[in-house]
């Protein structure tokens, strides 16, 4: 008897489910596939648009769309090989960075570029070419990627790296999942610089004042970011804290408390209304600032907690409630930052925009295609999702273009194609390369449709 178990491949089974972008801005019911074996990824979905989905933590709807079949990659979360001596690891795209840290840290290694939540997947990090705590010295996620195994139904599985299919490699790192399904990647690891981070707090009265500290501390190799009260009140706007971290070999057990209760895009919006608004925003921002003032100026925190600040403290996002939030992150060239920040303050206070907080971070790199990269300062703004916030963000788009900045495509679920065309000089090149690689545009998402990619 010889039977090929072809019956398993006869039908591609799909289910319908609700998907929400992390900021709550896009909410759809869509077909999805939940493959747990490679042969399921190769199943024939015909010509229907599709997109791979990691953990779904991007504010923009990069892994979902109304008429798009979503391919859930969470089951592809395995280590394919690990060579600590060569500091290289091959993992599947659904592996979370938190899991990766747990495994590599035992061998004294880590990925130097890590976003702030441990459940984010490696595939998502590649697709969005994310940045970490110290983008001024470590660059973006692409710097950690040695090669990628990419699957496209028309091209099959292709291994892409800096020598083979380099243009496709560049297009995929920061390609928002539009070049195909990232199956796995070989990542370059670095020795852990310490087991804990000595965190200094510098209190500042405004964003422009913080700018000088950020530049000087980042130049000294310290991981630096800021937090500022952005409630639209001229007296308090911009009051904040500059955090500067440096690695130490402390007493902290890096493999200790790494458990956390996982927040998802759906669980984030369970709370029926937003706590962040008006007087409450001002009160909570003041309370936070005072609580930080009561801390010692320098404290030592475990590496896990420093890497993933929202793992143990996700309440910032929960408190936005069902209506969600608007996030905007723009990269402003160094010589234009002061002017941009002054304009930003003037418009937030003048328009009484429902802003919550602002954060600054130094960047160093080269901008290309649709990647959020370059030399300058990344300014991140959180607002309560509302009509006023949407109106203000349109003003912010104009400001960004005026000050020669670029908005982060993955952080903002309402950016228009005209804004992206105006801000990204290589928008057309990205679009052309994408259409050349995938003429029938099988891989689509709400993001790609909105940006006309």
């Amino acid at each position: 008897m010889k039977v090929v178990a072809a019956g398993r491949m006869d039908v591609v089974r799909l289910e319908k489910s609700r998907f929400v972008s992390f900021d709550g801005g896009v909410d759809v019911y869509a077909d999805y596939q939940c493959p747990d074996r490679y042969r399921m990824l190769h199943a024939d979905l015909g010509e229907r648009p599709r997109i791979a989905r990691g953990a779904g933590y991007s504010s923009a709807a990069a892994s979902l769309g109304v008429s798009t079949t979503i391919i859930d990659m969470s089951r592809f979360d395995r280590i394919l090989w690990f060579n600590p001596a060569e500091r290289r690891i091959a993992v599947e795209a659904g592996m979370t960075i938190g899991d990766l840290f747990r495994i590599t840290a035992r061998n004294g290694l880590w990925l130097p570029v890590q976003p702030g939540y441990p459940a984010i997947t490696v595939g998502g990090c590649i697709a969005a070419n994310v940045h970490g705590k110290n983008s001024a010295t470590s660059g973006t996620f692409e710097a950690c990627v040695e090669d990628i195994l990419l699957f496209h139904p028309k091209h099959g599985e292709v291994r892409i790296d800096r020598t083979n299919h380099y243009s496709l490699f560049k297009l995929t790192c920061g390609g928002y999942g539009l070049t195909g399904i990232i199956l796995s990647a070989v990542l370059r690891l670095e020795p852990l610089p310490g087991t804990a981070v000595a965190m200094e707090r510098h209190f500042v009265s405004g964003c422009v004042e913080a700018l000088k500290s950020v530049r000087s501390l980042a130049a000294n190799g310290k991981s630096t970011y800021t937090w500022h009260d952005a409630a639209p009140v001229s007296q308090t706007f911009g009051r904040g804290i500059v955090y500067a971290g440096s690695f130490v070999s402390g007493d902290s057990d890096i493999l200790g408390p790494m458990d956390y209760r996982r927040m998802t895009a759906l669980s984030r919006c369970r709370f029926p209304f937003s706590i962040w608004s008006g007087v409450r925003t001002r009160a909570m921002n003041s309370a936070y600032r005072w609580s930080e003032k009561l801390q010692p100026r320098a404290t030592e925190i475990p590496l896990f907690k420093w890497l993933y600040p929202f793992a143990k403290c996700p309440y910032f996002f929960y408190l936005f409630g069902r209506q969600g939030f608007c996030e905007s992150q723009v990269l402003i060239p160094n010589d234009r930052c002061e002017g941009f920040l002054q304009d930003l303050q003037r418009h937030i206070v003048g328009k009484k925009a429902p802003a919550v907080c602002v954060s600054l971070k130094a960047f160093k790199g080269t901008q290309a295609l649709l990647r959020f990269d370059g030399d300058g300062i990344a300014v991140t703004l959180f607002l309560v999702r509302s009509k006023e916030a949407q109106e203000f963000l349109q003003t912010l788009d104009t400001l960004t273009a005026f000050w020669h900045g670029i908005p982060n495509v993955i952080k903002d679920s309402r950016l228009s194609s005209s804004t992206i065309r105006a801000c990204y000089p290589e928008y057309t090149i990205f679009r052309e390369q994408l259409h050349k690689h995938d003429p029938s545009r099988l891989f689509q998402s709400e993001l790609s449709q909105r940006l006309d990619l």
Binding site: M1, V3, G7, D10, R37, R78
Partner: protein, 249 residues
Amino acid sequence: MSYLIIGASAGLGRSLAYRLAAAGHDLGLVSSDGRDLEAISTDLGARYGVQVVSIAAQVGGEDGYLDELTAVNQRLGGVKGVLFPIGFIFDNDDGTLDPSRAAFVMKTNCLAVMSIVARLLPKLKEKPRAVIVGFGSIAGSRGRGVNVVYAAAKRALASFFESLRIICEGSTVHVQFYVVGFLNTGLSFGRYTPLRKADPDRFAEVVVRNLEHNVNTAYYPFYWRFLCYTLTLLPWNVYKRLKTTGPLA
């Protein structure tokens, strides 16, 4: 201590492999999906530092893998238990399956389990304590209008495990049999289920916890014991009307 898992590359089998590896057990894994099996084996080794030996084999096909299984058993120093979280369905299993496909379903779900048990039972009996764990389905509780051959295979499997328990009575081998309801695995994905699908990770936790206990027949989720009992009590005239909407798994 080491265990052998037949059908380990996805669903419940994969969950069991991770639970057992997390508990520090070496594993022998058998599955038809060689690429996934290799990925799981490497992953388990890297995460938990256990020894994992894998066999890529289609148990519904030729029996050549049985010799490999014997070799793996020796390599692992004689396994302490064998678990069979294996299941296979053809989508058009409505009573019109061609003979080769029907035979494949019967072999994968039932006959292969019998062959493996026959091969390993003498070795298991030499152990101070050993366990054989089978996984049936609520689909086998009564006749039905869908997954017909699958249901027949699962009912045969239940009978086999009952006999096996009699055969192993007084020996060191404990025989456990789970009648499984809807599980959230690839087997049930995209199929309508009248009740909520259970999490295979939680079920795997229950199975691993019970390995050291004397469990004969258990239902998961537990309420299926009452539902299946009720189904068997239903008069035929009432039951036959449920034939197309009855339990699917």
